[in-house]
C-alpha cells in the first residue's frame, strides 16, 4: 500500500515538473517568437514607423536643427522652411533600415540632400545679392548640415545592436524550433505515459493556460505602470518610435496570450469529454 502510494506520488511529482517545464518552454518560446517577429524583423520596424508620427516629427526636428545651424551661419530663419522633404527622409530611413537588417554598413547617402542644399544656397545668394561669401566657410556649413541630416536619419542606438540582431536572428529561429519540439515531446510523454488520458490533457491545459496568463499579466502590468510614456528621450520622433515599438511588442504578447488561453480552454473541453468517455 505504501509502495503504491509512493509510486503514485512520484509520478504526480514528475508530471507536475513536466507540466512546469512545458509552461516554461511555452513562455520562453512565445517571448522569443515576439522578439523574432518584432525587433528582428525589418518589416516590423518599417510598418511601425509608417504608422506613427515618426517621419513628420523627424522632418520638424531636422528643420529645427538646420535652422539653428543657419542662425549660426548668417542665414535667414526662413531659409530652411519647407526645405526638408518628407519623401526623401522616408526613402533614406527605409534604406537605413534595410541596410541594418542586412548587416550592411549604416552609412547614409546624403547626395540628394547635399544637392538640394547647394541649389538652395546658390538661389539664396543670388536672390539676396550676397557678396560676403567665404567658400571655405560655406563648405564647412554644408558639411555640417549634411552631418545633421545623416545623424537624424540614423536611428539612434541601433548601430550598437546591429551585430546582436544580425548574429542572433538565426539563433532565435533555432531556439523557437527547439522549444516547440521540447513542448511537443512533453505533450507526447504526458499523454503516452498517463493511463488516464483526460489527466494528461489536464496537465497540458495547466501548462498552456499558465503560460497564457503569464504572457497576459506581464504586458498589462507594464502598460498599467505607464513606464513607456515616461521614458526620457530628447527627440520627439525617437520617443514616438520607441514607444510605438514597445507598445506593439507588448500588444503582440497579449495576442499570443489570448491564443494560448483559447487553446487551453479548448483542451479543457476535450479533457471533460474524454473524462466522461472514460467514466462510461
Amino acid at each position: 500500500m505504501k509502495k503504491i502510494f509512493k509510486k503514485l506520488s512520484i509520478k504526480k511529482v514528475l508530471y507536475a515538473i513536466l507540466t512546469f517545464i512545458l509552461a516554461l518552454c511555452l513562455v520562453f518560446g512565445s517571448l522569443i517568437t515576439v522578439l523574432r517577429i518584432t525587433f528582428f524583423n525589418a518589416n516590423f520596424l518599417s510598418d511601425t514607423l509608417n504608422s506613427s508620427q515618426y517621419y513628420k516629427d523627424l522632418c520638424v526636428e531636422i528643420t529645427d536643427n538646420l535652422t539653428d545651424l543657419g542662425d549660426a551661419s548668417g542665414l535667414d530663419k526662413s531659409f530652411f522652411e519647407g526645405f526638408v522633404s518628407e519623401v526623401l527622409v522616408r526613402e533614406d530611413v527605409q534604406t537605413y533600415i534595410t541596410n541594418f537588417y542586412e548587416g550592411k554598413p549604416l552609412k547614409i547617402n546624403t547626395s540628394k540632400f547635399d544637392e538640394s542644399l547647394q541649389n538652395a544656397l546658390t538661389k539664396y545668394i543670388k536672390t539676396h545679392h550676397i557678396k560676403n561669401v567665404n567658400e571655405e566657410n560655406l563648405e564647412y556649413f554644408s558639411a555640417k548640415a549634411s552631418k545633421i541630416y545623416s545623424n537624424s536619419i540614423k536611428i539612434k542606438y541601433f548601430s550598437a545592436i546591429q551585430d546582436l540582431i544580425i548574429n542572433n536572428a538565426g539563433l532565435l529561429t533555432v531556439l523557437i524550433v527547439i522549444l516547440a519540439l521540447i513542448s511537443a515531446a512533453i505533450c507526447v510523454i504526458l499523454i503516452a505515459t498517463n493511463e488516464w488520458k483526460h489527466k494528461a490533457l489536464r496537465y497540458i491545459y495547466t501548462a498552456i493556460s499558465s503560460a497564457g496568463l503569464f504572457l497576459l499579466i506581464l504586458p498589462i502590468c507594464i502598460f498599467a505602470s505607464g513606464v513607456i510614456e515616461h521614458i526620457a528621450i530628447l527627440s520627439r520622433s525617437l520617443s514616438d518610435m520607441y514607444t510605438s515599438i514597445l507598445s506593439t511588442v507588448l500588444s503582440d504578447m497579449i495576442v499570443i496570450s489570448i491564443v494560448l488561453i483559447v487553446v487551453a480552454v479548448a483542451i479543457w473541453v476535450i479533457h471533460i469529454r474524454v473524462r466522461k468517455k472514460s467514466a462510461v
Binding site: 549660426a72 545623424n151 537624424s152 539612434k156 526620457a232 530628447l234
Partner: protein
C-alpha cells in the same frame, strides 16, 4: 568620449546632490564636496583634475540646493570610492577600462541616480546630453563644447585628456559614461 566624460562629470555632481531647492549659497557640506572635486587623482602616475567648467556647474547647482553633511559625506565617499577604484585599475586612461570595470562604474551611477531621483534624457544628437530632475527641471544640458558655434555644437574643445579621467571618478555613479561611450563609438561610421 571626451564630450561624454566632460558632461558626465557635471551630471554626477548633480546626481549626488540633494533635491530640495533653496536660495543661493554654498554651505560647509557643499564646500567639502567642491574641495574634494578639486583634489587631483593619481592614475598610473598621471595627475588628473576635474575640468574647472564642471566644478563650476556643480557649484552653480549647489547654489540651488541645501546639502546636509550626511549627504555630503555620502557624496565624498562615492568620489573617494570612484577615485580609489580607478587608481586601483592601474590604467592611465579611461579608454583602457575593461567592460567589467565600466560596469562597476555604471552600477555606482545607477545607485546614485536612484537615490537622487535624476533622469538622464537620451539625446538624438550624440554630442548632447541632458540631465533633469524627475519632474523635468534641467540640471545639465551639455553639448560638450565650451565655445559653441553660437548655438550649434560643432568643434570639440580639446580638454586635456587627463581631466576626463578624473571625470570618471566622480561619474562612476553616473555610469552613463560606459553606456554612452559604446553608443558614441558605435555611432561613428
Amino acid at each position: 568620449m571626451k564630450k561624454l566624460c566632460a558632461v558626465l562629470l557635471a551630471v554626477f555632481i548633480f546626481l549626488i546632490s540633494c533635491c530640495s531647492a533653496f536660495a543661493a549659497g554654498i554651505n560647509a557640506a557643499e564646500q567639502s564636496v567642491l574641495s574634494n572635486m578639486r583634489s587631483p587623482a593619481n592614475m598610473n602616475g598621471h595627475k588628473i583634475f576635474v575640468p574647472t567648467a564642471y566644478i563650476n556647474q556643480a557649484e552653480a547647482h549647489f547654489n540651488t540646493i541645501d546639502m546636509t553633511q550626511q549627504q555630503a559625506d555620502k557624496i565624498n565617499a562615492l568620489i573617494n570610492a570612484g577615485r580609489s577604484f580607478l587608481e586601483g585599475t592601474g590604467k592611465s586612461n579611461i579608454k583602457e577600462l575593461s567592460p567589467s570595470e565600466r560596469r562597476t562604474l555604471l552600477s555606482y551611477a545607477s545607485q546614485a541616480a536612484a537615490v537622487l531621483k535624476l533622469t538622464a534624457v537620451a539625446g538624438s544628437d550624440e554630442t548632447r546630453i541632458k540631465i533633469t530632475t524627475k519632474d523635468g527641471t534641467i540640471i545639465v544640458d551639455e553639448s560638450n563644447n565650451i565655445i559653441k558655434t553660437t548655438g550649434f555644437s560643432s568643434l570639440a574643445v580639446p580638454i586635456a585628456a587627463a581631466s576626463f579621467i578624473f571625470v570618471v571618478l566622480i561619474l562612476a555613479a553616473a555610469g552613463l559614461i560606459s553606456l554612452k561611450k559604446r553608443e558614441l563609438e558605435n555611432e561613428e561610421i
